[in-house]
């Protein structure tokens, strides 16, 4: 009996900036923050909303009557964050709180810098601690501190400040940028793991659906036609045909090959599904549908568990496959 190695997995980090236009209400709020002022908006019932809302929660009317509120307020409820996660305002144990600023009727969620849970309570007075360089972002409020905290209290470790967005007219903030970074443990399926490990040994392993008998490479775990697990492994040769292709002439960010170059669907001999790869070793305008190709492997010492082990496909010089033989793969 053999035990199979667990599926391959790798850390995957995703990073992008949410760049958001703000509109008249949130734009005014963020502009205020950049000037170290906090403005709320007055609702139809006279209640002052901080943070401001764009539409009245009762009547749904657009709101536009702004009022500046105090930078000190009262904790309505709090919770203890013993293990802060990345991006949170304070990077050591701290309290989250809903804080009703004086002059406001709704509460703002933010972090409060206190040493321990026994240093905060509902009803406690807290005040804003601003960042050194406000940019028009909710993080301009660095965090809150107890109202009686000394001004020279050393600051806690914080998350990096968000970047400043360009301001069209130099003063009002109409855009905010929030960097998003998410980390995952990205796992491939057991079938894909066997396929990738085989690639690491220079082999191409597909799988046959037990129902329709189609051979998939890469293997997919389940047949997309029948929805049943694909279990039978099939080793495929590194030769096949170009079913269809395109010539890339347009440069783009992150491009690794100088245009023009050919990206083609390669159908390996014995496979029923084509995959994308590069065709090189001839002029781009010589590539044609039905052309026979062979894999060009990278030097063995560069192999990893990846399709990158095949650098590209090259014409094999054999006669083209007749159109009828691959028409159903297009």
């Amino acid at each position: 009996m053999t035990t199979e190695a667990p599926p391959l997995s790798e850390p995957l980090e995703i990073h992008f900036d949410y760049t958001r236009s703000l509109g008249p209400v949130l734009g005014r709020f963020m502009t205020g923050l950049a000037q170290r002022r906090i403005e709320g908006v007055t609702g139809s019932d006279g209640r002052v909303h901080v943070p401001p809302v764009e539409y009245d929660p009762v009547t749904a009317a657009p709101l536009s009557e702004f009022v500046e509120v105090d930078q000190e307020g009262t904790v309505l409820t709090w919770s203890w964050c013993a293990e802060p996660v990345a991006g949170q305002p304070i990077q050591r144990p701290f309290a989250w709180a809903l804080i009703r600023l004086d002059g406001a009727d709704t509460a703002l969620l933010h972090a409060v810098d206190v040493e321990a849970p026994d240093a905060i309570h509902t009803g406690m007075r807290v005040r804003v601690r601003w960042t050194d360089e406000p940019v028009g972002h909710i993080r301009d409020i660095a965090y809150f501190v107890p109202a009686d905290a000394p001004d020279d209290q050393p600051p806690p470790p914080t998350s990096p400040a968000p970047p400043a967005a360009e301001r069209a007219d130099g003063t009002s903030v109409d855009t905010m940028i929030t960097p998003i970074k998410l980390g995952y443990d990205h796992t491939v399926s057991p079938e894909e793991s066997r396929y990738l490990r085989a690639l690491g040994e220079g082999k191409l392993i597909g799988q046959r659906c037990p129902k329709c008998e189609k051979v998939y490479l890469p293997p997919r775990g389940a047949c997309p036609t029948d929805g049943v697990p694909t279990t039978t492994e099939v080793e495929l040769p590194d030769t096949g045909i170009v079913t269809t292709f395109c010539i890339v002439n347009v440069p783009f960010l992150g491009q690794q090959i100088t245009p023009p170059y050919v990206v083609a669907y390669i159908l390996l001999d014995g496979a029923d599904i084509a995959f994308l790869h590069l065709v090189r070793g001839c002029e781009a305008d010589e590539v044609r549908m039905g052309m026979r190709v062979r894999a060009q492997w990278r030097p063995r010492e560069e192999w990893e568990t990846s399709m990158r082990n095949i650098a590209h496909f090259e014409p094999s010089g054999e006669a083209d496959a007749p159109y009828e033989s691959y028409a159903h793969h297009l």
Partner: protein, 362 residues
């Protein structure tokens, strides 16, 4: 029964649950984030239960999240699990699959199809769940602070504790009952015997919450099959007819809500006939949230709450709400209940809520 009246208006079709299957609730699967490995056996089980096959299904709808998977259009890969060629009539919601069930319910009500299969899946363990979930909040004034889901729920819990709406003991009782009930649920992730006193002796992990107040991080998937009432009886002997289903949402502004109540659940429940239910499966990822929901739905002591153990025994993101509907329906189909209520939630601090009422089809 409100439905026979509705049914007589233009002959709209009444959907019933005829099948339910779910994967084991586990802390971490070795599978991919596209859920195929969890879905293939779960789908097979639902088909076996109902005697239906892929070609019998008129409409497919799923619920999952790209943020959980860490990749765009992750649900597209999941479609491999259902065998989507030749093309099928398919849709997806970026929500708990309970809302996918709502879409399927509408599809059957309109008469466009008479069967539908709903599935949800999520690999919560792939990322840092409480951090990923902070991206559900307002993207201007809240999400940039990355408030984690546990901290937000803890703010809600304290409001109830300090206002006297509930006590730590009430919360521990919810946990103790859930864990005890989960002993009969072979698919539960957590179960066991724990006294309320012992639970209250445990340290606070997210003051005022203790570990037992917080649903576990769970990978899982579930499948529900719906059929129009006139077909349902051919599939199972006792279909769980959906006599009403509603969903409502509260403001995304956490500081403008009374977090000790759930107006959206109250409204969804008020538009249905929730009286006389024998059993209620509630989607309450935190102990105090069950207390809020019981109050919002007016569920008295005579109603059996979450006999599966509920999501405190296993909370597979994006399928746990659908599984509540499945668990409630299963009890009707098995003859253990005549009328059952199911609830699903989505978003921070019970922001959005769906309530369904089912009864044995006569």
């Amino acid at each position: 029964m409100s439905y026979s009246e509705t049914g007589s208006r233009g002959g709209a079709t009444r959907p019933a649950v005829v099948g339910f299957a779910q994967s084991d609730c586990v802390r971490r699967t070795q599978g991919t984030t596209n859920g195929v490995e969890m879905l293939v056996p779960t789908l097979a089980e639902a088909f076996e239960q109902t005697g239906l096959s892929k070609s019998d299904i008129g409409f497919w709808c799923s619920g999952s999240s790209d943020y959980l998977a860490g990749r765009a259009f992750s649900f597209i890969s999941a479609v491999d699990a259902i065998g989507a060629f030749p093309p099928i009539n398919e849709s997806h919601v970026e929500m708990d699959a309970a809302w996918a069930l709502y879409e399927a319910w509408v599809k059957i009500r309109t008469g466009e199809v008479d069967t539908a299969l709903v599935y949800g899946f999520g690999k919560s363990s792939a990322g840092t769940l409480r951090r990923v979930l902070s991206l559900q909040t307002d993207p201007y004034t809240v999400a940039p602070l990355w408030p984690d889901s546990i901290s937000i729920a803890a703010l809600q819990a304290r409001l109830g504790l300090e206002s006297g709406r509930w006590s730590e003991k009430d919360m521990a009782e919810v946990a103790a009952r859930s864990l005890a009930d989960a002993r009969d649920n072979p698919q539960a992730q957590r179960s066991g015997e724990a006294s309320v006193a012992d639970l209250l002796d445990a340290p606070l992990t997210a003051d005022p919450l203790r570990a037992h107040d917080i649903a576990p991080i769970t990978d899982g998937a579930s499948v529900v099959i719906l059929a129009a009432a006139d077909r349902a009886r051919d599939i199972v002997s006792r279909p769980a007819l959906i006599t009403g289903i509603e969903h409502r949402v509260d403001s995304p502004v956490l500081g403008a809500r009374d977090l000790t109540r759930s107006p959206s659940t109250e409204m969804a429940g008020a538009s249905l006939d929730v009286g006389d239910v024998d059993v209620a499966e509630l989607h309450a990822p935190f102990t105090h949230q069950e207390l809020i929901l019981r109050d919002a739905l007016g569920l008295g002591d005579g109603v059996r709450i979450s006999p599966s153990g509920g999501v405190l025994a296993g909370n597979p993101m994006f399928s746990a709400g659908l599984a509540r509907i499945g668990e409630a329906a299963r009890r009707v189909m098995a003859g253990d209940a005549d009328r059952a209520l199911a609830h699903a939630t989505s978003g921070p601090a019970l922001q959005q809520n769906l309530v369904a009422v089912m009864e044995a089809q006569s």
